[in-house]
Symmetry: D3
């Protein structure tokens, strides 16, 4: 019944490729089916003005889509001279979510920027970015330890994200683009590997959604996210 | 235990003043305690390019804060030459939420812009904006009927919004600024007067939140929003 | 003969409400008839780069109109990404005028920003902004004294402003929007409470104006501004 | 007593060179002493959106300074990405003033843009721009007649401008930069060749100015502007 | 003697992967050693304003670098709100070069945009972009034929590009980043597969270069570019 | 055969007027026939951030065209809020070329900005700007010596530039606008007075160009540039 033939609770194949490019302290290609996002983590020895002198670090994120990552070409944001509202909203969500992974006091005066660039889009780019970005972040934290700039990694917990929704009346996990553009409700769920919620953003695209649908979606989300934690763990191997 | 002395489930005094300024088709001053937002609804006889020729209407929103609506002066966005990420995120939320109130087909080729300008901020500006903006929107729809540009109002349902959160371990409704800046979790809930959810945005500011906390917050939200619907109804009187 | 039924020399009812919002060091709602402007004065302990190290202070102003303060909705300047020419011109005028009220040496290294936001426009917004802004400025200066950051207020003189013009051949004071849009000549006059001119800006909208008309307009302006000084004094009470 | 040795009522040498560059329909180099401004008038067969279909024309102006027209280099506005407040204020003044020269109905659906670019600044650039720009405008209007796009020139009257001020207590005409930066009062006066005022902008830079000073300045302005009309006439020769 | 151990005339391994992403009409990953660029070609059924109604098509290009494609993170151009000078210069070069590949009359009223996004940089990104972009362009032209929007491909000739330079006194081909940052002279050569030059851009970074060095560099360039045409042909197989 | 009647190797009359405006440390009007560019050199006692503390100086350039320097009016870049791609490309070329004239170590921590503003355009504005800008630069360097801020001028060599091209099948030197808009190939050549190349930028506008055409164009360029060095020398007189 789903266009992809998946069962309602079945996420797409998820692949995480570490060290995808060579310059960044963390560099990951994350694929949720046909959605492909390059996530790099870059370390700088400084913090934004509002944190100066506080001895704490910062995690932030930026998001972009290649102009032809989508079915029809989108104007390049650099050429138009500003980031669109959707971009801003997504990169703020990624940044907030990944800050929850790290003890910012223990990070010290470093900023880690997670750049998430979508090279092919098929729905769920923000949840892929958070899930892959967390792995790039772990690599960058381990880099700081290896470079003796930190004694131990300030990682507190892993973070992963999945979209869930109500598609033709049925709650489903990990919507692809054909589902996403038809879904009545679309919800992004971000959780920790200890089972807590970091962020929930549910939107009724058509009819309002009811408490029972919300509950069903959250059950699907929790199950799918647990699978993502396994995939992250496998990708990181001994380094997690 | 709350700084304001309110009980956990007690929202602030909410006041809705219609016809607050004289030019707009709908003009409301909404106050959630010390949070004060001017919401105007402006009707135009045209639609954005992506809707042209489809015979449908559109509802959109813009949000701003006066520079000194806050404790320390914020730079004016018009002078800095761009709207900040928080502004963009909030105005997109308001627009999405209020579109759910209206049958866009029945609205015909009109655009209604809801401008929400915060003149004094004390937490909860976006939920106040949605709640007051919905009343301004109803007035603008009725204006179209009175002006014989529509046969009947295309209003489908009323929309209202409240923030809930976990403050010092206790779920509370309608956070003011002192609570908001300390809360572990902050969630904005937007509902219809028929009991469905339009949007849920919950964010763990510190520790992750658990399913039980989520459930408690949603109970508080539903109760408070029902009070808001009463206040909207009273403000609108016979015109609702 | 004036659309409002006023006599040529009669300004509109002017009301000045102090402490209109609660965060700013000075906060005034000024009303010239249906023109309503919120003027706040914000104090910062720093000066612009060109004054650093000179021991002097600075007064500056910013001006904005809510999008629907006017008969048809104006695009929001923050969304368009720049302030229009009219806005820039007006805020520079307000800033210049109010700097004349204060002994900048005695102000020390503080900047006071006067934000003037029009919530309802019916002509004369810039003169209302100057007249109300001066009261907000006085409150901010007194705040610096009360906070023991200055020994005494560096106020030199009060400043007020009125528009005058030639409407259907007759010089009139305090033009409202219906007059303003029809007037042959429009002049803004800014004066001190000691009778000197701070700024005169007269523009022929249609036919040029003659010396005798200029003289008549200045007589009307002086008379109306003297009434404004009384209203400012009454608003300030013992604090002036 | 004036740094230049001029008498109080003596303007600088004024030179107007027509056909200064070859592409524009009107092209003038205007010099007020060491102040040198290139004024071009460009004709387009269209009008701004707000005038479409009304059968009227439009006159507008743009102003710029070469980065090193001044004593120390100013940042290039094109590189900074926006025109400063002073630029905007000046070009609006030039546009308003020169619109008064022309019967816009008789101009028909043409826009004439007056570009005023300062190549060397020594005070009074805006008054030089208006005075020289009017000559470029006349040439452009005559070009429309010569090209048979208009039957007769829609010129109504000539416009010229001068600055006057109070320098060390004495009213003086046509301030140069050393005077301008020290003057207590600075006033720009724009008049028609029939003796009416188009615009008066007087600003107290230090102490307020009194009615008697205003009157003296206006006498000086009228006298100097009459000389400017002679110089314009001579430059235009038989074509005026 | 070259850091990579290559001989002076030896370019890096070049790989061209077609159909790299799935949405674009042409999509290529081009690798010149460690330099990796995604080139997509997007077809639109319209032309820029300056070509409307002329029956001709247009080829244009945009260029970007992922923020961490380089050794230290570069600010994202979309976030800074403008494309830097180097970006503008490169994308104009790519566009000019690839327009030479196509008979624009025969293309008809279509625009093809070549987006070149660098995911990993090691010198020579613009020459890689042109070489890979030409293959993406061929695919897009063939797509137009397959979709029956053109009778036959308007391809006139293949285009490829290589950098040559003088490194430690010796002319070398295809500089990588360690060479590029040390080279005395850097020249980009763009040619057709019929042996003509499309563009030559040679810059002395340190000492000026002499005619003999220019001649040697051009010999190296011609030889390397001929190898690139072989690699393009092999990638395209029967479709060239 | 050339529209101007010149022989293929004949450049236009070139005139260099020093001290053209009075404020800049170097100020030159350069004319290549009807192309007229004001080049000023401005000295500042500081260097850009990337050079701070290195004891070296910097040379940079900015380029602009007056809106009506061309046949039809171009929009003012300051008003549009950004510099176009062509402007950016040209000013980067001028800056790179003129940096080659100076020993930046010997310049010490000074920045010299060369502003090139085209007041009348007839082709070849960038080569005129480089040729005239070099003279302004020499004047600014000599100013630093005269002001005892440098012991001796850090000038290493003179720089001049010419355009060459293939017009109706024949290589020609110093293309004017009618030739430039028709030429098959357009090449800008920048050389030192010791005969080395600083930059070569050749572009096939129509058909590709061949090695023999390249060689012919370079011969023409070298000859014409040698004439430019004579004209520079004559303009500088004893100061070169």
């Amino acid at each position: 019944m789903r266009p992809s033939g998946r069962t309602p609770e079945q996420p797409r194949d998820v692949r995480i490729t570490r060290n995808y490019t060579r310059h960044a302290e963390g560099s990951v290609l994350v694929e949720f089916g046909d959605t492909k996002v390059i996530c790099t983590a870059s370390v700088e020895n400084k913090v934004p003005p509002f944190l100066r002198g506080e001895g704490k670090g910062w995690i932030t994120a930026e998001y972009g889509m290649l102009p032809r990552s989508t079915g029809s070409r989108m104007g390049r944001e650099a050429a138009r001279g500003k980031q669109g509202g959707r971009t801003v909203e997504i990169q703020r969500l990624i940044g907030r979510s990944l800050r929850a992974a790290v003890d910012l006091e223990a990070l010290g005066e470093h900023t880690i920027t997670i750049d998430c660039d979508v090279i092919q889009a098929d729905g769920g780019t923000r949840t892929a970015a958070i899930t892959g970005g967390c792995v790039a972040l772990v690599d960058a934290l381990n880099h700081l330890v290896a470079a003796k700039r930190l004694k131990k990694s300030p990682l507190k917990q892993m973070i992963a994200a999945i979209s869930v929704g109500v598609y033709k009346g049925t709650p489903v996990a990990d919507l692809d683009y054909p589902e996403d553009s038809e879904a009545e409700t679309d919800m992004n769920v971000i959780m920790t590997d200890q089972g807590g919620f970091i962020e929930i953003q549910g939107t009724a695209e058509g009819a309002p959604f009811e408490q029972t649908e919300l509950d069903s979606m959250l059950v699907l989300a929790r199950k799918a996210i647990n699978e993502l934690f396994e995939i992250q763990k496998e990708a990181l191997g001994a380094e997690a």
